[in-house]
Amino acid sequence: MDHLLARHADCLFWLGRYIERAASLSRVLMVQTAFDRGRAGGAGWAWILALYDESKPFLERYGETSAENVIDYYLADREHGGSIASSIMAARDNARALRAMISTDFWMQINRLHKRVATFDTQARSEKRLAQTCEKLQTDCYALLGTAEATFYRDAGWRFFRMGVEIERADQMSRLLDVRFAQLKTGTADRGDAMGDFAFWSVLLRACGGHHAYRRTVVGPMQPETVARFLIFDQSFARSLGHSVHAIERLANELRSVCYLSTPPSVLERIESLRGLLDLAAQEPGFIGHLHDMNDALQRRLADLTGQLGRTYFKQSDPEEPVAVEEDGAPVDAPAATQTQSQTQSLD
């Protein structure tokens, strides 16, 4: 048994996803706080719900789309699987199942973060403190990723962990790129200004830490199209879609070349289709007009890849559940809802 347990690989993958998800959610809330500032009447919070396609469950639970409610729903609500608190909990559950493999430093780090998230007080949740809370959360998530980088053993498990981070990062970046669409859909932005103004894209850039890098690379006035292209295609920007997809491809290759695991065509083809999608968009002059469609397609393909990784590596070996091989590559139809998985078991 020289190979990684399938369950541990699964846990590592989702550990990576949940940490990245918590960081990304903080980023989305940060966009809102910056965006909302100084506008008469506020831009409203409904678009965040649209972005994650969660208006219905939210309204069922809270009734009213107030700032306070939306913040609670995404920051602290442990009943809501898509909240930052739930993401951190889920990350820690996975880490707990992995404790024999991960470093003590990492476990200590995630415990500290978990402890703080579990004890968010009203002040941390308040609208005026939200920016600080989110910024701190984001830094903590970076620290966690950094601890992993500095301490994890570089076996197949590391690749699955990174794969989780990159897939989630791409998924969340594409959602962030869709903010404008969500705002238009919910009437929280002016229709005459379909692609958003300078201020909007500037906020987006800052939210994902790309503002300075953008300034360094792109000369001239800030255009929606140039910002979008930077966030999507710039290979040197660590949060760009292009960078993530490239990383996913590299990790899959390392599974084969470094870890001696087979990477079947079913996995490689799905990664190629991700890259194909970006290549196609890059060549299309008016692609910004189809940004939402591209995001939609990208999220479907990421979900599809996740499903295939699961079938190939995480659950394949159970003879009780024979694996149905999908020939046509039809994705599991869950494009909008965020995928979730937690590694908890029920007591006997």
């Binding site: 048994m1 399938a6 404790r99 699955f160 001696y260 394949q316 070996s317 159970d318 003879p319 908890t344």
Partner: protein, 500 residues
């Protein structure tokens, strides 16, 4: 010792100035017959510490345990709470000569236990010869008929064995209980030492204390010695019930120390009498399983059918000889509290030796004379239910209320076979940090023995301490803590034993 002196407040009394050991044997001071402390060198070292400093450093040590996650987990309906087992920073020290006897005694005991288990699952000679009552073994709930006729490698059933020892007022070590199923606590032995090394390097300095960190390596070696004969590169895994088990930290610790995967039942599958682990590269054979789940949950096909923790078909594999399970199913029949009473006779029967470590005198209440004696002396005896562990259900006669005594009298009459009774042992004490300064608290000792072709004993073992004043129940569930246990290397000067 300059470092220690720097902390000294001249107005503060010496650490042990007000220490009174009471009527018990003291691990540090001895039985008081001699004016000099039993462990003179260590006593001198402690005298250089001050209580305020000690408490401060002790608090830091405990925080560290928490941060590092050296905890057991208590689950309530809503939350999970990670607790660190209370740790007392004043070590319990065993001189080399004393340890030598203990080690021999433990090795002897484990040899007898394994011989007994082999016999009861094969020829049952000891039953035929009438040494141990037949119904006590065959009617025992831990006797597994599935094990009859199974040849385990090296004849080893109890690969990991914990022997609970106490010391009476005369300083004599005695066996209180054997643990031949899944004894726990060894992670604390190693972690406690690491903690002492970090928090009290000055206390350890100059003492030649035998190391404990090789436990994982020795455990791994011994377990691999018991791999099925047909295997040349055996694969070992540690089988845990999972994150909800209160000893989950220990499972993590052992898997790490041995460098083997920590698996759960759902990670294993049986195909054609062979056990496999589900890995990212497919099914991978497993040859030796160190399981930390009880017999009952091991294999739903054979034992508890509702168990979700085990692996269906595991016992068939063991019977087919394709996998070694440590400890072997059915090993628990040897550590039963009722069988315990026969251990001196069991040792004599198989090894033709006298027990090096005596038993505590035990009245088996299933025997009418013993029952009568117990009922007549209830207020002097400790009554224990045979099937329980963790210190539950024990009634300490001399400390019990009239009501408690009446309850146990009734229970004894209703189901005498469920009880044994022992005289109350005045457990030895060890100086311990308490709210009232350093005071004596009762301790026991659980050495850990691992057996493959032969037996290796971890130097020292787990010292548990009853933190409640006067209490003799050391179990963690009943307010017990632990101490680092030092076994001194033989022949070092200043061994510390009076007169040595």
């Amino acid at each position: 010792m300059a470092e220690l002196k720097a902390f000294r407040d001249p107005t503060e009394p010496a650490l042990l100035a007000n220490y009174k050991r009471g009527a018990s044997f003291c691990e540090l001071m001895g039985d008081g017959a001699d004016e000099r402390p039993r462990l003179l060198q260590f006593w001198r070292r402690l005298e250089q510490l001050r209580s305020s400093e000690l408490s401060e450093r002790a608090a830091d040590a405990l925080t560290e345990l928490h941060e590092r996650g050296v905890t057991f987990t208590v689950y309530t309906e809503k939350d999970e709470i990670d607790r660190a087992l209370p740790f007392d920073v004043i070590p319990r020290v065993l001189p080399a000569s004393e340890w030598e006897t203990l080690e021999k005694g433990v090795v002897q005991r484990v040899a007898a236990i394994n011989a007994f288990l082999w016999d009861v699952y094969h020829d049952q000679k000891i039953l035929k010869d009438g040494i141990v009552p037949r119904e006590l073994v065959l009617g025992n709930e831990n006797f597994r008929k599935e094990m009859i006729g199974v040849d385990v490698p090296n004849g080893t059933y109890a690969h990991i064995c914990g022997v609970d020892l106490v010391r009476n007022a005369a300083g004599q070590f005695m066996v209180l209980e054997d643990n031949a199923r899944t004894p726990s606590g060894v992670s604390y032995v190693v972690e406690n030492r690491h903690l002492m090394q970090r928090a009290f390097p000055d206390l350890l300095q100059g003492f030649n204390v035998r190391e404990v960190s090789s436990y994982g390596q020795n455990l791994r070696d011994k377990l691999l010695e018991c791999a099925p004969a047909a295997c040349d590169d055996p694969k070992l895994v540690l089988l845990s019930p999972g994150v909800f088990n209160s000893a989950y930290y220990e499972h993590i610790f052992l898997a790490r120390e041995m460098g083997v995967p920590l698996v759960e039942g759902r990670d294993l599958v049986v195909i054609d009498d062979r056990v496999f682990a589900k890995t990212v590269a497919g099914l991978s054979p497993v040859d030796v399983i160190y399981r930390r789940i009880d017999d009952n949950f091991l294999d739903p096909k054979v034992f508890n059918p509702d168990s979700m923790l085990g692996v269906p078909g595991l016992v068939d594999c063991m019977r087919a000889g394709t996998v070694t399970i440590a400890n072997a199913p059915g090993a628990g029949v040897a550590d039963d509290k009722a069988i315990y009473a026969y251990m001196p006779r069991i040792i004599d029967y198989y090894l033709s030796e006298e027990a090096i470590l005596p038993n505590v005198e035990t009245h088996i209440c299933r025997e009418p004379e013993a029952l009568q004696y117990t009922l007549d002396h209830l207020d002097e005896l400790v009554v224990k239910p045979v099937g329980e562990s963790g210190g539950y259900g024990i009634v300490v006669g001399p400390r019990a209320t009239t009501e408690e005594l009446e309850d146990v009298r009734k229970a004894l009459k209703e189901d005498p076979a469920n009880y044994i009774a022992q005289p109350m042992i005045q457990l030895s004490v060890c100086p311990t940090v308490t709210e009232e300064g350093v005071a004596p608290r009762h301790v026991d000792l659980r050495p850990f023995a691992v057996t493959g072709r032969d037996t290796w004993v971890l130097p020292g073992g787990l010292t548990r301490v009853a933190l409640k004043k006067g209490s003799i129940i050391v179990n963690s569930s009943q307010g017990g803590g632990t101490k680092d246990t030092w076994v001194l290397e033989p022949g070092q000067s200043g061994d510390g034993v009076a007169g040595a």
